[in-house]
Structure formats: C-alpha cells, structure tokens
Symmetry: C2
C-alpha cells in the first residue's frame, strides 16, 4: 500500500479501500473477506494496521469477525447508512436513480419537518445563517459563487436552526448525499434553475415563523425534485420495454 498517499494513515487507507470494495459489491453480504493474514500480504502492511481497519469497519456495521469463521460482510440492513463514510462509499459505487429517489423520499420527510421546527423555534441567529446562504445562492446565480456549496449550506442551516440534535446530525448525512445527487441530477435537466425563488419562499416562511407555510414550501420543493426523478425513471422503463419489444 502506498505509504505517502493522501495524508491518511495506513489504517484509514485500508478502511476506505475495503469499505468501497464492499459497497460496490466486490465482497457481498454473507461472503467472507480474505483472512487477516491475506489482507496483510495483499496490502503489504502489518497485522496491527489491518486489524484496526477491520475494527473500524465492524464499528460501522459493514462486517463481523469471529475466530475460525473469519471476516464476513454483514447484510445491508446492518450497515450504518447514516455514517457519512458508509453513505459516501455506497453512493459513489452506484449512484442509481432508484437510490436517488429513495434518498429524496427521506429528505421529503426530514426537511419538511425541519422547516416547520425551524419556523417554530425562531432562533434568530440561526435563521440569519439561512438567510446568508440564500444570499450566496443569489450571488451564485450571477456566477460569483459556487452554486452547489450555497445550496448545500442553505439546507444544512435549516437543519441547524431546528436546535434538535437529531436533525443537526442529519446535516452531514444530507451533505454527503447532496454532493453526489446534485452532480447526478444536473445531468438530467436544469434542476436547480428556478431554485432561488423557491428557496426564498421557504426562507421567508421560516423567518416569519409561519410553520404551516414553511412545511408546505419545503414539501413543494422536494416534491418537485422527486417528480423529476420519478418521471425519468418512468421514461427509462418505457424506453427499456420498447427496446426489448
């Protein structure tokens, strides 16, 4: 294993190599990974480093290891999907439209309520942070800033403004997934074109403490994105059946 690489230590490098390999299906649930000894040989590192990597993957729910049985991949239901690393490996392995839809279905739930909670809580400082991100989105429309970063910041700041640690924690989850899915949806259509107006409407509702309006505005935005994906899924299905007919 390349020792100079990427500022990460050997253990972390191996964690990412194995995590990605598991996520992309090179090792499948139920399958065994190579034994500790083999992994040491394959990557040219010591047992300590190897074992520590295995322990980290175990902690994230991807594998188990027991004497005599070796190291096995856990069923996907045991993976900690909400761990940013795990999510990143999965999304980078296969950023499918199906998974994108599933992700949006979750955002639909989370962000609608988050908007409502933020509107209810009225933490002025954190609401201001949402406004700042909105301003950056406007500047991005004029080409002065990175539109992706501004968009992400907007959504993260809403979660922060709930002052609910569970929602705040979901920020890192949504950020990871958003980076992948934005790259993905931008290929389909100009998803984020008319987005500033929508985002402003949502911000105004939160700012004024209009709980129902905030929930509705958030839901509308998510529903729009979801409809786009589901339309694309339908289209591909029809194309597929025509092609095979």
């Amino acid at each position: 294993m390349d020792r100079q690489q990427s500022g990460r230590n050997l253990t972390q490098q191996l964690v990412h190599v194995l995590g990605a390999a598991i996520a992309n299906g090179r090792y499948r649930p139920g399958d065994g990974l190579p034994s500790e000894a083999s992994l040491c040989d394959e990557h040219g590192i010591s047992r300590s480093a190897t074992r520590e990597a295995i322990k980290m993957l175990t902690a994230k729910g991807l594998i188990t290891s027991r004497p005599r049985q070796g190291i096995r991949v856990q069923p996907r239901a045991r993976w900690n999907l909400f761990d940013p690393d795990v999510l990143g490996w999965i999304l980078n392995a296969s950023p499918s439209l199906e998974m994108l839809r599933e992700f949006l279905q979750l955002r639909m739930a989370i962000e609608k309520e988050a908007a409502a909670l933020a509107a209810a809580d009225q933490d002025r400082q954190k609401v201001a942070a949402i406004g700042a991100a909105l301003q950056q989105m406007k500047e991005a429309e004029e080409g002065l800033r990175d539109p992706v970063e501004a968009d992400i910041a907007f959504h993260i700041n809403i979660l922060n403004a709930t002052n609910n640690p569970f929602y705040v924690q979901l920020g890192s989850f949504i950020e990871t997934a958003l980076r992948v899915s934005i790259r993905f949806t931008n290929r389909i259509k100009g998803v984020e074109t008319a987005s500033y107006a929508n985002h402003k409407k949502l911000f105004d509702a939160i700012d004024r403490g209009e709980i129902l309006a905030a929930r509705a505005a958030s839901g509308a935005m998510q529903a729009e994105a979801l409809a786009l994906i589901e339309g694309e899924l339908d289209r591909r299905e029809i194309e597929g059946s025509v092609a095979t007919a």
Copy 2:
C-alpha cells in the same frame, strides 16, 4: 478489566465502558482522554486491545486521536447519533424529557412519511407483518404477551414495508430509542393505554393503500405522544418557577 464478563471480548468491553463514559459527560467534548498507555494501565489490558477500542470509537465519531495531541472527545455534532451503540449510551446516560421530545420530533417526521410510503408501495407480505404485530398488541392487552415488544415490532414493520433502505435502517435506531422512551413515558402516564385502536386505524389505512389517511393516522399518534411530553415539560417548568419563587 474482568476477562470473563458478558461474552464480549476485551476490545468491545472497553468500547462500551469508554462510550458510556463519554456519553454521560465524564469526558467532555474538547477534553482529552487518558493516553493509550494510561488506558492500558487503568484497565489492565494490552495496547492492541486498547488501540482497537479507540479505533472503533473513532469510527463512530466520538473521538479523534493524533500523535502528541492524544485522544480527544469530538463535539457532539460529529457523533453518529444514528449508530445504535451511540444512541444507547446517550439515552441510558441521561434519558431526559428534552431528549425524549427531540426524539419524538424526529419520529414525527420519519414515521408519517413511512406510513405514506408503505401505503403507496403495497408490499402485501410486509403489510401482513404489520398486521401480525398488531394482532400481538391485541393479545398483549389481554396480558398474553409483552406489550412493549409488540409495539416496537409494529413500528419497525411499517418502516420495513416502505422498501426504502434508509427507512429500514432507521428501524434499529427507533427500536433502541423506543425501548428507553417507553420505559420513561410509562412512568408519566398511561401513554399506551388506548393505543390499540389508534394503531389499528393506522394499519387499516396502510392495508387499504389510503396514503393520506395513513399519513394522518401516524401523525395523530405521534402528535398525541408529543403533546403529552410537552405538557409534562411545561408542568415541570411551572413547578420549578413556583419552587424558586
């Protein structure tokens, strides 16, 4: 460290000891933990086992460790709250009413949409599993079964019936939190008394594919529980201010 204890190996024992200590505030964010060497001494185990425990806690986002700086507790926003271990440590450390409310605010978001998705997806086999859990709740009312287990199974099965891996994964999260919070709310009032009727209404809506009704029924149940907690919070606040007056 007691080597015969609890079927867990030394590393896992230390993980749980330290995880619990961090969650209950013995070590606070920003603070340093004892060095590797000290931890070995304190617990009477080798450096290998100690280091592997540290790596597992690192993987869960609770700590970082760097040469010369030592081991430090991460800010809470970095903790993987959705890791069942982490959540368990936190809830067992301080099952406060505030956190219970925050948890319910999250369930409100998740389970409402999950009910809608389950109603839309109409996976007959998984809907039947919800029905089976409901039946167990009925039997539990007559004292034939454990009411807590049946209640949990009901909610988990709705998440499974979404066929969305993100919602499915949240099952283990909600299960962990539910076990604690049920123990907690039962002390306050007979929360789960009239619950069978509510649960049946929700099940029927999912079973018939009535998306809006399913979302509404789930929302109503959650809102009821939430109102109870918030009422209790208000009551205690008033009592507190009277007491200090």
